[in-house]
Amino acid sequence: MMPNMMKVALKNLALAAALTGTVLLTGCATTTPSVPITKQQVFPAVYGEKPASILVLPAINHSTAADAPLLYSASIAQPLTEQGYYVLPIPVTNTMLEQAGISDGAQLLAVPPQKFGQMIGADAILFVTIDSWDTSYYVMGGEVTVGLTFKLISTKTGERLWNFHNQVVINTGSNSQDPLVALIETAIKTAQQDYFPIAQQVNYGSVAVLPYGKFHPQTGVDATQNSSEKFNPPEE
């Protein structure tokens, strides 16, 4: 009995933590009134084409953080797969691209998307632009601002299937009400800031906007679920 209860308790804790994460992720979005709109209406091409496999391309890094592309590429496969997609093995495909002299996604912008379908068998390719990865510290706290723009392109039509811009501000300071504790906690966290959990959090939050793929039990079913206006593709 005990292990089960522990399991339930842990599950609840994880759920609470996940919810807190969601609040943090969405909490910073601008408060435009959202019009009820279904996912099918927002992402018709994904439901129409039903891509099964995705080739994740190296990030296009516009931020000043040199390690941001690695933070991204090491943490994107898991959320994308859990969303229901077959992700071609990134360590394998990245090595192949490196051997061809490609380490930055920008080098691939001019390549016809169809090529990736023919050569690697991917249904879609995922570009990401890291717009920002900025850390700011102040006496009693700190935060990291991460801006990512995702673009999922069909290798059949070359058309854009999904497009999403995510900007997240993550508090890296202390939450303690006690100023002394807050000061010490912030100092310790600042010194040991591990950006990888932040990268994971941002990737999970971004990919969750994408309709479910074939591995997810709710694939297709989510078409009629409400979406939010803020998930509409940004104008280019």
């Binding site: 690695l70 590429s73 496969a77 859990e82 077959y86 394998v92 906690e185 959990p197």
Partner: protein, 119 residues
Amino acid sequence: MNKLLISLSLSATLLTGCVMAPPHPTGFYWGNYSQSLYEYKKSPSPTSLETHRNTLLDIIATADNSKGQYKVPPGIYAELGKIELDRGDKASAVKWFQQEAGHFPESASLMKTLIEKAG
């Protein structure tokens, strides 16, 4: 002081708790995958590679022993194949690539290329 330490470690737990996925609807078991991949890519060394390889093997063993509760996620067999190929063990590499293709038809084209390259 002890209280401070406890609250610090608790907040660290909560921080990582955000990304610790509970058993997921897809049923894929990831173990320590993303973290060990990141650490290997950040500081490549025989040790970090071995740690990552063990993570991959642990994922397969856990899924295989779970009586169907967990599945091996996409790409795990393929990554092991690549590690074996880099070490010069072509026979093992081909075996893993075939496993990936067998479990995930989506990978067939890429695995065919890799098997030809290994052969």
